[in-house]
Structures are given as C-alpha cells and as structure tokens.
C-alpha cells in the first residue's frame, strides 16, 4: 500500500495507480480532456495538471503520473484553476470553435470545461486557421476546425479497434490528426467503420453523418466498457 495526501486528505493507493485514479476513488474532482478511461493515458492536454507540494510545487499531469509514497498532491487551488483555464483558452484560440452551429453544441467536453473552469473570454488572439472539413466517409464526418488534438481517436482506433487508421501528422501548430497518413477518410483502406473514434472524440470534430446542430451526443464510456470485458494479459 502507498500512502499519500490529496488536497489535505490522507488516502491509500495500490502501486501503479495514477494520481487521477486515486483522486477519483477519494471523490476529489480533477478535470480532464485527453484522458479517457479504457485508453492509455497520454498526459498531453495539461488540463489535469496538479501540484506536488513536497516536490517544490512541481506540476504533473494527474492522469499519467503514478502515485508515490508520501506524495502531497494539491488538486484544487486558484493557481491550478488559472493554469487550466489558460490551457483551455489556447485550445479555443487554436481552431475555429463556433459552438452555435456545431453538431456537438450542448454535449461537448470543451464547452463543459469552459463552464467548470469559469472561462469568461479567451485572452489570447484567435488564430482562425483555414482548415478543410472531410465529409468523404459514408458514415462519419471529420471537421478539423473543432479538433483539440487530444489523440483519443488515435488511441481508440489503435488500442481498442486495432485498425490504426488515425495518426498525428505535421508538427507544432501545424499538427493535425489524419486517417491513413492523410485523408480523405472515405478512401481509407484501414477504417472498419466501427465508429469508436467518433464516440471517443470529446468535441464536435468526429461526428456521425447527418447530425444537425446540437444533435450529436456521444458515449465515450463505451471504450472502457469494451476494454473491461477483455481478458487481461
């Protein structure tokens, strides 16, 4: 057993558990975005940053950091809220999020985070990138204007479906996710049309064809429901 503290509460954990898992068991809320139960953690979005008080206040992603004996974790503080909000602002500014006309309006994890973290307005300049929607697939649509580069589609497709259709392309600010090393999705030779990437996507970037504004609801918990039933190695 490992003993640690989260927000001043003493908790015990099993070796190998992450800070996020232990916090969830203890009822301490840590917001997440790129993390999805059932997929491997990536720690790339930085929304789940927490402080380790006895590591000089070092910031670590809760979803990808295993607990250690004696750790004193701060999961809730004004500093963390401000940092998480900054991350959120960068995500909103990076692409073209027009919620009013989005199929995921009202059912979107990015919107939910804006409410939870108290985002009044984005303080960095919006980039307004010119990105093209891919509606070539018979069942789904990919709109990179709404992608937050969480990689949940990439992991769902490779780790759960095993098709490896989705992957990252480009670098830095030019990074995008692409099917088969560069679309169109409709001509993909690897896509099995299972739709796991669509369910995993936290926003309106991967959606079902034919959905109108605010109609797209998702079931990201399906990924964990599938993996939990699989025999463990």
């Amino acid at each position: 057993m490992i003993h640690l503290e989260i927000d001043g509460r003493e908790v015990t954990a099993r070796p190998g558990q992450t800070i996020l898992e232990v916090a969830e068991e203890a009822g301490v809320r840590i917001p997440t975005l790129c993390y999805l139960s059932g997929l491997s953690p990536r720690g790339s979005c930085r929304i789940c940053l927490v402080e380790v008080a006895n590591w000089n206040g070092k910031l670590v992603p809760a979803c990808a950091t295993p607990v250690q004996e004696g750790m004193r974790v701060v999961a809730t503080s004004p500093r963390l809220t401000e940092l998480r909000r900054r991350v959120l602002e960068l995500l909103f500014a990076e692409r073209n999020h027009i919620c009013a006309i989005c199929v995921s309006n009202g059912h979107c994890e990015l919107q939910d985070l804006a409410c939870e973290l108290g985002l009044e307005a984005v303080r960095v300049p919006y980039r307004f990138p010119g990105l093209t929607l891919d509606a070539s697939h018979g069942k789904f649509v990919y709109d990179p204007n709404r992608c937050v580069l969480c990689g949940r589609c990439v992991r769902a497709c490779s780790e759960v479906e095993g098709a490896m259709t989705w992957g990252f392309s480009g670098r830095g600010i030019h990074t995008t996710v692409e099917p088969d090393l560069g679309g169109p999705w409709g001509s993909s030779e690897t896509c099995t049309e299972c739709g796991k990437c669509v369910q995993a996507c936290p926003v309106g970037a991967l959606v079902e064809r034919g959905k109108a504004t605010a109609e797209q609801e998702k079931e990201p918990q399906l990924l964990a429901q599938i993996t939990e039933r699989r025999p463990r190695a």
């Binding site: 009013a100 309006n105 009202g106 307005a121 919006y126």
Partner: protein, 175 residues
C-alpha cells in the same frame, strides 16, 4: 436613487441577442424602474450620449464603422459588456476570418464595384471580424447564441447589485 443609464448597440450580429433581451417580457417593466435606455436600436436616439453607465454590445467588430463606434462607446461608458457569442468570441461572423477579405466580398458581389471593399457609402469591411475584447478592455461577458433571457436577467441583477463574478457555471456555456 438616480436611474442607471443603459445603452445597447448592435454590430456584426443577427439582432438575436436584442430579441432575447426583449424576451425579458414583464421583467422589462421592473428593469425600467431602475434604468433608463439612453441609446439602442429599440429607441430612436441618433447620437451615442456621454456618461453612460452600462453598454451592452451585440455582435463582432466587422467593419470600420463598428470599430470607430466601439472606441467612442468605450470612452463614454463606465461598463462595457460583450453581449452574446459574436461579441464574446467572434462566433458566426468570424467564419470568414480564414479567407481573404476581397475573396469573401467577390464571392458575394462578383466582379467590378464591390461595396465595403474600400471606404465609401458602405463602411469598409475589416480583414477579420473580431471579438470586442481583442480591441478594447471589456468589463463583462454574456455568453450564448443568443443568451437566454434568464441568463441576461441574472447578469443584470448581479451587475446592478454590484456583485461579482457576474456569471458562473452553466451560464458560461458558449453556443
């Protein structure tokens, strides 16, 4: 107690936020006891007055006239509020922003004389439609496309009572 001087104005938007304001319905009567509307599309006053306490701005800043008015309003208003998603984020009017200005205008008006391409009878279209806070300091934000009347009401009540933060939780939802 003197009445609070309130102005409302409408830039690059669809007037939906103003319609939602009118959806305050009977609450407008209560509001009218506390505020005077000194400038607004719903009252007939041509000049933006001095010494305004609160201005609600609907819409993004899309052309030279909006930009000039915004600077004027900022100088003459104590509290400037971005009213609705277009004013807060750019929203639908900002969908033209990735495209060159002339290409957008030509795709609508074709070859030859194009209104808004240069300064003229129609104000010049700015290269991008921008949220207010990218151009001037903004004191409050009312999210939504359009913001529901109940949200506008909560915002105004908290503002008139001098409370802060003005909106929290679900009231911060875009869209």
């Amino acid at each position: 107690m003197p009445k609070v001087k309130v102005a409302t104005i409408w830039f690059s938007g669809c007037s939906g936020c103003h319609m939602s304001f009118l959806d305050l319905d009977e609450r407008l009567v209560e509001l009218a006891q506390k505020v005077d509307i000194v400038y607004s599309p719903v009252v007939d006053i041509k000049e933006f007055p001095d010494g305004v306490d609160l201005t609600l701005v609907e819409g993004a800043v899309g052309n030279s006239e909006h930009w000039e008015l915004l600077r004027e309003i900022r100088e003459r208003t104590k509290l400037l509020v971005a009213f609705g998603d277009c004013a807060v984020t750019g929203n639908v009017p900002s969908m033209r922003n990735p495209l060159p200005r002339e290409e957008v205008l030509r795709s609508v008006y074709g070859e030859g004389e194009v209104p808004g391409l240069e300064e003229g009878e129609v104000p010049k279209l700015l290269p991008q439609a921008l949220p207010l806070s990218m151009l001037v300091p903004v004191d409050g934000f009312i999210h939504g496309c359009p913001p529901p009347a109940d949200r506008i009401w909560r915002f105004l009540q908290r503002l008139l009572a001098g409370e802060s933060p003005l909106l929290v939780g679900e009231d911060l939802r875009f869209g």
